[in-house]
């Protein structure tokens, strides 16, 4: 405590910076938080290079470079409580899809083979080395609390911060994106999976009922469901539901195919096959975590090889 205030450090690792923007997205409510919190280190607000002692440390992003690893370890040493904020910190995030390729492949594609790239060398100055794989924060350091979301909606950040500041018991919410979506799930005669631009969509009816792949039912609601409510299928950015994470045989594709086949006339096996073909997209946000990666039902390398064989 400093002047009766809780000291807060935040640090970003490999991420887009959106989670830090989400912190600022508290708008006027940030004033309530600032009454109780002193922000010491925060890459978007303060120019502090070292890691001061703090009560709460918020880490966003996953471990992708040597610097990320160093920053995470320093934060753990100096902060009493570490919160992994955002899907990248909790599950590895979107760039976790990099696991499907080797480090050399990625470097080569980015710096040498991209059609718009003019250079033909891999930079080695000014940046720390790329690690072999993407690692969620909790595989490197102990994490006290997790708040997934891409980014988590300010509503959840505020709730979490005030619970922590006031030392209240934390609430684990299990609702999925469907719980915040206003579309009606009804049974239809749709007999084939449709692409995003195939047809005009009914704004009142669930995407699954209309033959579109939507991950709403397998994704934690940490967003208040803006995408499906505005006509865009859920891509699962807040990561899988508690049920998928707990049950070894439940999986993103098995649950979506089960529900979609009950709503439409499409065979569950066809939906599963369809999702396996684009598995890198559907599993991107969470494939770097062992909670998904070690599942006996998660066969990403096999699925990618099958697609490549067909080319």
């Amino acid at each position: 405590m400093n002047n009766g205030k809780i000291r807060l450090n935040t640090e970003w690792l490999c991420d887009c910076g959106g989670c830090h923007v989400a912190l600022v997205d508290l708008h006027d409510k940030i004033l309530n938080v600032l009454e109780a919190v002193e922000i010491q280190k925060c890459p978007v607000l303060t120019d502090v290079k070292e890691y001061p002692e703090a009560d709460i440390g918020i880490l966003t992003g996953s471990i992708r470079t040597e610097h990320d690893r160093h920053a995470a370890l320093e934060m753990r040493k100096k902060c009493k409580k570490i919160i992994a904020l955002g899907t990248c910190a909790v599950y590895g995030g979107l760039h976790g899809a990099g696991l499907a390729h080797s480090r050399e492949e990625i470097m080569d594609t980015v710096y040498r083979r991209t059609p718009t790239t003019k250079t033909d060398f891999i930079p080695d100055a000014g940046v720390t080395g790329l690690e072999k794989i993407v690692t969620p924060v909790d595989e490197i350091i102990d994490v006290d609390l997790y708040l997934p979301g891409c980014p988590p909606h300010a509503h959840y950040i505020f709730e979490a911060l005030t619970d922590l500041i006031e030392d209240r018991e934390i609430k684990t919410r299990q609702e999925t994106v469907c719980s915040g979506c206003r579309r009606i799930m009804k049974k239809t005669d749709i007999s084939a999976i449709r692409n995003n631009n195939d047809s005009a969509l009914d704004d009142e009816v669930c995407f699954l009922s209309q033959g579109h792949i939507c991950l709403g039912s397998v994704t934690l609601d940490r967003c208040l469901a803006p995408c499906p409510n505005h006509g865009i299928m859920c891509t699962g950015c807040a990561g899988p539901t508690m049920q998928i994470l707990t049950e070894p045989t439940h999986d993103i594709r098995t649950e979506v195919s089960d529900r979609m086949s009950r709503l439409t006339k499409i065979d569950a096996a066809d939906i599963r096959k369809h999702m396996e073909k684009s598995a890198k997209t559907h599993y991107a946000y969470a494939m770097a975590t062992k909670m998904i990666g070690n599942k006996p039902t998660f066969l990403i390398r096999k699925w990618i090889a099958e697609v490549e064989d067909q080319r």
Partner: protein, 83 residues
């Protein structure tokens, strides 16, 4: 005494719970297009409805919880820490 509730606002009206319930605990309210618990006494706490519900809207209380022996240990250790 076992309790079962549906979070009304979360219910998407898919009727999956009516389809899977082995003891017909639910009815469908055509007016609101939402499922309702009709006979909680019938419930055997198989949790099939919880598992299939797309919105995780169904909650059971005071039911016998089976130990986590077959669960994903990587996640089970972290579950309590999720905000």
């Amino acid at each position: 005494m076992l309790e079962m509730t549906i979070h009304d606002k979360s219910c998407r009206g898919c009727r999956f719970c009516l389809d899977v319930c082995p003891t017909d605990c639910f009815v469908f309210n055509e007016e609101t297009q939402k499922a309702m618990v009709a006979k909680v006494d019938n419930c055997i706490a198989c949790l099939s409805c919880t598992s299939i519900c797309p919105a995780a809207a169904i909650t059971h209380r005071n039911h016998h919880v089976v130990a986590n022996f077959y669960r994903n240990i990587n996640f089970s250790r972290r579950m309590e820490k999720f905000l």
